[in-house]
C-alpha cells in the first residue's frame, strides 16, 4: 500500500527497514558466531606460532564481530530509542496546536504497526490496524491475561457490522490518545500497548468486544501496567552492565569491622542474606510510608527502636523484606546501609532454660553480641509473647533484661506486635514501651491487594503449572474481601489463591477461572457465591413457601423478608455497605418471631445453626457496650464482634432489644447505617454479610387492642411505631434504619392448631428416621393439645413444653414398654393425653 501518512520518526522507519533486511535473531547469531570464530582463530594463530591463514581469519572475524556489534547497538539503541525530547512537553504543545503531530514519538514497534494504515485517499483501515496491533507479542500477552483469544477478537471484529474505515484524522487522534496514556505511565515514547489502549477506547468494534467479555477499562489498564512492569524488569535484568545487576554480589570484607555474633547466629536468621539469595527483583507494593518511618527512627541518635504494629498477615514481614532490599541496594539512609537485619528466634533461644535468671542471662548475652557487632538491626517477632507470658510454670518477662540494651544508641531493634499485644502487654511495660516508636502497619487496599497478588502469581503458576488470568486475581481479592473477615489482606487473598490452586490441580484443570474461585469460596463460607445456580434460583423465587414450611400465618412479615433476600442476592439496590437485610420484629411472645429468624437462617445460610442469638436484656448494664465490643481494660474479646468475625455469614438475632442499654442501641445504629463496627482493639468488623433481626415484644398490648379494633397492615404498623416512639422505647432514627418494621400478629386458635400438626409431623419424621416408627394423631388429640397449649397471652410459646410433657412422654413410655416396635404407626388419641 502506498501511503501519504507521514511518520516523522525516520529513525524508527530506518530500523524497521534494517530489521526487515537483517532480522534481529539472525543478527544475534551472526555476532555470536563471528565473536567465537575470532577467538578460535586467535588461539589457533597463537598455538601455531603466527600461522598466516589463522591470523587473517582472526582479523576478518574480529572486524566482522566488531562491525556487527556496533550495528546491533546502533539499531537497537541508536535508531529505536533516540528520543531526546520529552513526550509530556510535546504533548502539551500538540494540544495547544503549536506542533502538528506526535508521530516522531512512536517507538519502533508502534511505527511498524501504523505505517501502512492510511492510504493515498486519506482513509485509515482501522480493522487492519487493530489486527496488526493485536498480533504484537505484548498485546497477545495482555489478551492471554484477560483470558481472551486475540484471533477470536479479530474474527469477531471482522464479522461485526461496525464500520472499520475512518479518516486520517482518526489515526492522529488515536496517536494523541496513546500519547496521553503513555505520559500517564511515565513513558518517553508511544508504544504498541499505548496504541492498543487508545484503540480500545476509539475503535467501537474492539470496545464492544471487550465490553461483551466483561473487560472493564480499569482491568485493561491494570493488565497493561502488569505487562509493562514485567517487560521493564526483564529488560533491566538482561543488561548485565547496569549498576543494580553488578552490585548484586556481596562484597568482600563487609563484616570484618563488625563483631562476631556466634551465639546470636545459632538462634537467628539473617534476613539480608535471605533476601540477597532470593534476588532483589521482588516488588514491594504500597509500603513506602512504613519503610520510610522505620528508617527515620532507626537512623536517630539515642533510642532508635521500632515497634511494628499490625495484625498477622497484614504484611509486616513484607515491610522487613522491603527494608532489607533497600539496605542491599544501598538506597537506605547512609548510617543504615551497612547494617544487616537479624531475626532473633527468642522462643528457641530460651527453650530449655528453667529459671527466670537463666532466661535473663541468655537474653543479655544475645543482646550484648548484637550491640557489640555494630552492624546488626535485631528483629523480634511477637514481642508481646515475651512480656508477662507463662513460662515453665512461671511468668517470662524480658523487659528487665533488654531495657539497658535497647536504651543504648548502638542497639537497633525492630519488634513486631499486634494491636492487642500493644495494648495488653507492651503499653503496660512502662519504660520498655517508651524506648520504642510505633509504626502502624495498615492493611493494603483492594487495589494494592490485587497488585500484591499479581506479584506472587508467577510463583503459584510455576509451582502448580496452572494459568491464572487477571479476572481470577480480581475475583480472588474481591471475594476474599467479602467472605473472609478474620484475616487481613494480603494474607487472606494469598491463602485463598493457594487453596484454589490445589482444588484446580486436583480437578486436572490448567486455567483457574472465576467459577473456580466462587466454588472454593462457597464451600469455605458455606454460602452461595458467584452466579445464581438453578437450585438457588428456585429457592429464592419460592422463599415465602420455604419459610412457611416452618411458619404459620404472618404473611406480611414473610413477604417483606423474602423480598429483601431476593434484592440482596440479585445485587439490586445499595447492598455494598449495609447488612443484607435488617428487620425489627414486633409482636407478642410466642407468635413465631424467633422461629421466622431460624427459618430464614436455614433457607438463606443453609442451617438454623447459622444464627447468632443475643439476649439483649443481658446487656442493660453500663458496661454492656464494652462487653459487646471487647476491651483491653476488661481483658475480654467482644461477644458481638468475635461472634460476627468468626461467622460473618449468619443471621444476627437480637432478642428483646428494647431492654438493652441505650448506648447499645447507638452501637447498632452504626451497624445498620454503615455495616461495620470497630472493636476495642481498633479492628474493623463487617456486618455486610449478616441479616440482622431485632425482636421486641414491647407494644404487645397495643397490637392485641389494634387487632381487636380491626386494624391491620400499614395502619397497624404505623400505629405501633408511633406508640413505641411515644413511650420512648426506641429513637425515631433507630427505627428508620431498619429495612422493615414487621408486625407479628397474635396467633389465633386455628394457627396454633396448624403449628401443632406441623410439630407432630416433625416428631413423626424424626422418630421414623431414628427408630422406624411413624406417629399420627387423631383430631380429638390435636384439639386436646390445643386446649392444653393455647394461651392468648403467650401464643404458641407453651406448645413445645406441652408436646414434650404429653405426646413425647407417652411415646417414650410405649417404646420402652415394647408396645410400639419398628415399623409400627402409633396413633395418639385424646385419651392418651393427660
Amino acid at each position: 500500500m502506498i501511503t501519504d501518512f507521514e511518520i516523522k520518526n525516520k529513525d524508527a522507519l530506518s530500523a524497521i527497514r534494517a530489521r526487515f533486511l537483517f532480522p534481529r535473531s539472525l543478527h544475534r547469531l551472526a555476532t555470536s558466531l563471528s565473536g567465537a570464530a575470532s577467538l578460535f582463530f586467535f588461539v589457533l594463530a597463537f598455538v601455531l606460532g603466527g600461522h598466516t591463514i589463522s591470523m587473517v581469519l582472526f582479523l576478518w572475524c574480529g572486524a566482522t564481530f566488531l562491525w556487527l556489534l556496533f550495528l546491533y547497538g546502533f539499531i537497537e539503541t541508536g535508531l529505536k530509542g533516540s528520543f531526546s525530547l520529552s513526550l509530556k512537553d510535546r504533548l502539551a504543545e500538540y494540544k495547544t496546536g503549536r506542533i502538528s503531530d506526535l508521530t516522531a514519538f512512536l517507538d519502533f514497534h508502534a511505527v511498524g504497526a501504523i505505517k501502512d494504515i492510511v492510504n493515498r485517499a486519506g482513509i485509515a483501515d482501522v480493522f487492519r490496524l487493530t489486527a496488526t496491533i493485536v498480533s504484537e507479542r505484548s498485546v497477545r500477552w495482555v489478551f492471554n491475561r484477560l483470558a481472551l483469544d486475540e484471533k477470536d477478537a479479530v474474527k469477531w471484529i471482522k464479522q461485526s457490522s461496525i464500520n472499520t474505515l475512518a479518516k486520517k484524522d482518526f489515526v492522529l487522534k488515536l496517536i494523541e490518545e496513546a500519547a496521553t496514556y503513555a505520559v500517564k505511565r511515565h513513558h518517553a515514547t508511544i508504544g504498541v500497548l499505548d496504541l492498543f489502549w487508545a484503540l480500545s477506547q476509539a475503535n467501537p468494534a474492539l470496545r464492544q468486544y471487550l465490553f461483551d467479555h466483561a473487560v472493564e477499562p480499569a482491568d485493561l489498564d491494570a493488565v497493561i501496567r502488569w505487562q509493562d512492569r514485567l517487560w521493564h524488569m526483564s529488560d533491566r535484568r538482561r543488561k548485565f552492565w547496569l549498576r543494580e545487576n553488578l552490585f548484586r554480589t556481596q562484597p568482600i570484607g563487609k563484616e570484618w569491622s563488625a563483631g562476631y555474633i556466634n551465639l546470636l547466629s545459632s538462634y537467628s536468621r539473617d534476613i539480608t542474606d535471605a533476601v540477597q539469595a532470593r534476588g532483589l527483583d521482588f516488588h514491594v507494593v504500597g509500603r513506602k510510608k512504613e519503610i520510610d518511618a522505620m528508617e527515620q527512627i532507626l537512623a536517630k541518635a539515642g533510642e532508635n527502636n521500632v515497634l511494628l504494629v499490625g495484625e498477622p498477615g497484614v504484611g509486616r514481614e513484607t515491610i522487613i523484606y522491603g527494608f532489607a532490599k533497600r539496605l542491599l541496594e544501598g538506597r537506605s539512609l547512609p548510617q543504615l546501609n551497612r547494617q544487616k537485619l537479624i531475626e532473633l528466634d527468642l522462643s528457641a533461644a530460651i527453650a530449655g532454660l528453667k529459671t527466670a535468671g537463666e532466661v535473663d542471662g541468655r537474653i543479655k548475652e544475645l543482646f550484648s553480641e548484637a550491640v557489640q557487632a555494630r552492624n546488626v538491626i535485631l528483629i523480634i517477632q511477637n514481642l508481646h509473647h515475651f512480656l508477662g507470658a507463662e513460662f515453665s510454670g512461671g511468668v517470662i518477662d524480658i523487659s528487665r533484661a533488654v531495657l539497658p540494651y535497647i536504651k543504648d544508641a548502638h542497639m537497633q531493634l525492630i519488634a513486631i506486635t499486634t494491636h492487642s499485644g500493644l495494648h495488653e502487654k507492651v503499653e503496660k511495660a512502662g519504660e520498655l514501651a517508651s524506648a520504642f516508636q510505633p509504626v502502624e502497619v495498615q492493611e493494603p487496599t483492594l487495589e494494592q491487594a490485587v497488585q500484591i497478588l499479581v506479584d506472587v502469581i508467577p510463583q503459584f503458576e510455576w509451582k502448580y503449572k496452572v494459568f491464572i488470568p487477571y479476572a481470577t486475581i480480581k475475583s480472588i481479592v474481591q471475594l476474599s474481601d467479602k467472605y473472609v473477615q478474620n484475616v487481613p489482606f494480603p494474607e487472606k487473598a494469598i491463602d485463598l489463591l493457594a487453596e484454589i490452586c490445589v482444588h484446580v490441580v486436583r480437578d486436572k484443570k490448567k486455567i483457574i477461572m472465576t467459577d473456580d474461585v466462587a466454588a472454593v469460596v462457597s464451600s469455605r463460607a458455606q454460602v452461595p457465591v458467584g452466579s445464581v445456580g438453578e437450585d438457588e434460583r428456585n429457592k429464592l423465587l419460592h422463599l415465602e413457601d420455604l419459610i412457611h414450611a416452618r411458619i404459620v400465618d404472618q404473611e406480611e412479615a414473610v413477604n417483606a423478608i423474602a423480598n429483601a433476600m431476593r434484592r440482596a442476592r440479585a445485587g439490586v439496590g445499595d447492598t455494598s455497605n449495609r447488612p443484607i437485610g435488617s428487620f425489627l420484629f414486633l409482636g407478642p411472645t410466642g407468635v413465631g418471631k424467633t422461629e421466622t429468624a431460624k427459618a430464614l437462617a436455614q433457607v438463606y445460610f443453609g442451617s438454623d445453626e447459622r444464627m447468632i442469638r443475643f439476649d439483649m436484656s443481658e446487656y442493660n448494664a453500663p458496661d454492656a457496650e464494652q462487653r459487646l465490643l471487647g476491651s483491653p481494660v476488661i481483658h475480654a474479646e467482644g461477644t458481638l464482634t468475635t461472634a460476627v468475625r468468626d461467622n460473618p455469614f449468619s443471621l444476627l438475632l437480637l432478642d428483646e432489644l428494647e431492654k438493652s442499654n441505650p448506648k447499645v442501641l447507638d452501637l447498632f445504629l452504626q451497624v445498620l447505617d454503615e455495616g461495620h463496627l470497630t472493636d476495642g482493639w481498633g479492628k474493623r468488623v463487617s456486618f455486610t454479610h449478616t441479616i440482622i433481626i431485632a425482636t421486641s415484644n414491647a407494644g404487645a398490648d397495643f397490637i392485641r387492642q389494634a387487632i381487636h379494633d380491626g386494624k391491620k397492615g400499614d395502619e397497624l404498623s404505623k400505629g405501633l411505631i408511633e406508640h413505641l416512639l411515644s413511650k420512648n422505647l426506641f429513637k425515631p432514627e433507630f427505627v428508620n434504619r431498619f429495612d422493615g418494621v414487621i408486625v407479628f400478629k397474635p396467633l389465633e386458635q386455628q394457627h396454633v392448631e396448624q403449628i401443632i400438626r406441623m410439630m407432630l409431623k416433625s416428631l413423626s419424621h424424626e422418630l421414623f428416621h431414628e427408630k422406624g416408627i411413624k406417629v399420627e394423631a387423631d383430631d380429638a388429640a390435636v384439639k386436646k393439645i390445643l386446649e392444653l397449649g393455647y394461651n392468648p397471652e403467650f401464643g404458641g410459646r407453651e406448645l413445645r413444653r406441652i408436646m414434650q410433657e404429653n405426646v413425647e412422654n407417652v411415646i417414650a413410655r410405649k417404646i420402652l414398654g415394647g408396645e410400639i416396635k419398628r415399623g409400627d404407626t402409633f396413633t395418639i388419641k385424646d385419651m392418651d393425653l393427660k
Binding site: 529513525d11 530506518s14 598466516t52 591470523m55 587473517v56 581469519l57 582479523l59 576478518w60 574480529g62 572486524a63 566488531l66 562491525w67 556496533f70 547497538g73 546502533f74 539503541t77 541508536g78 535508531l79 533516540s82 552492565w241 547496569l242 549498576r243 553488578l246 552490585f247 554480589t249 562484597p251 568482600i252 570484607g253 563487609k254 563484616e255 570484618w256 569491622s257 563488625a258 563483631g259 562476631y260 551497612r338 557489640q372 557487632a373 555494630r374
Partner: protein, 125 residues
C-alpha cells in the same frame, strides 16, 4: 552514515562509558576499598578486651597488647585486600582503556583489519 556517527560518538559512546564506570565502581565496591580504608585500624571483628587495673598492673598491659594485636591483624588483612582490590582496579582500568580506544578507533580499526588480512595473504603468498 551521519546518523551512525552521531550515535557512535554521541549517545552510544556515553552509554558505553557509563557501563565502564559501572564496572569500575563494581571493583571498588566488591573489594570494599572505601569501607576497608575507613576501618583500616579497627579491631578485628570488634575483638577488644576491657582494660583492667591501673597502668602498673600486668592485666592492663595484657589487654592493651591484645587490643593492639586485634587492630594490627585487622589492618594487615584489610591492607592486603585493599592492595588486591587496587591491582584488580588497575588491571580493569587498563582493559577499559583499551576498550575505549577500540570504540573510538573502531571506524578506522574495522576497515584496517580487513585490509590487513588481505595484505597478509598477499605477502605470505
Amino acid at each position: 552514515m551521519l546518523r551512525y556517527l552521531v550515535w557512535h560518538y554521541g549517545s552510544g559512546f556515553r552509554s558505553f562509558l557509563k557501563a565502564e564506570q559501572n564496572f569500575f565502581a563494581f571493583g571498588w565496591y566488591f573489594f570494599s576499598i572505601s569501607e576497608l580504608l575507613r576501618t583500616l585500624f579497627s579491631p578485628w571483628h570488634q575483638i577488644l578486651e576491657k582494660k583492667k587495673g591501673g597502668i602498673a598492673s600486668s592485666e592492663f598491659w595484657q589487654s592493651l597488647s591484645l587490643n593492639l594485636m586485634s587492630r594490627v591483624l585487622g589492618a594487615m588483612v584489610r591492607a592486603i585486600t585493599i592492595v588486591f582490590g587496587l591491582v584488580f582496579e588497575a588491571a580493569l582500568l587498563l582493559i577499559l582503556c583499551a576498550l575505549t580506544i577500540i570504540w573510538l578507533a573502531a571506524l578506522l580499526l574495522i576497515p584496517t583489519a580487513y585490509v590487513s588480512g588481505v595484505l597478509l595473504l598477499i605477502i605470505s603468498s
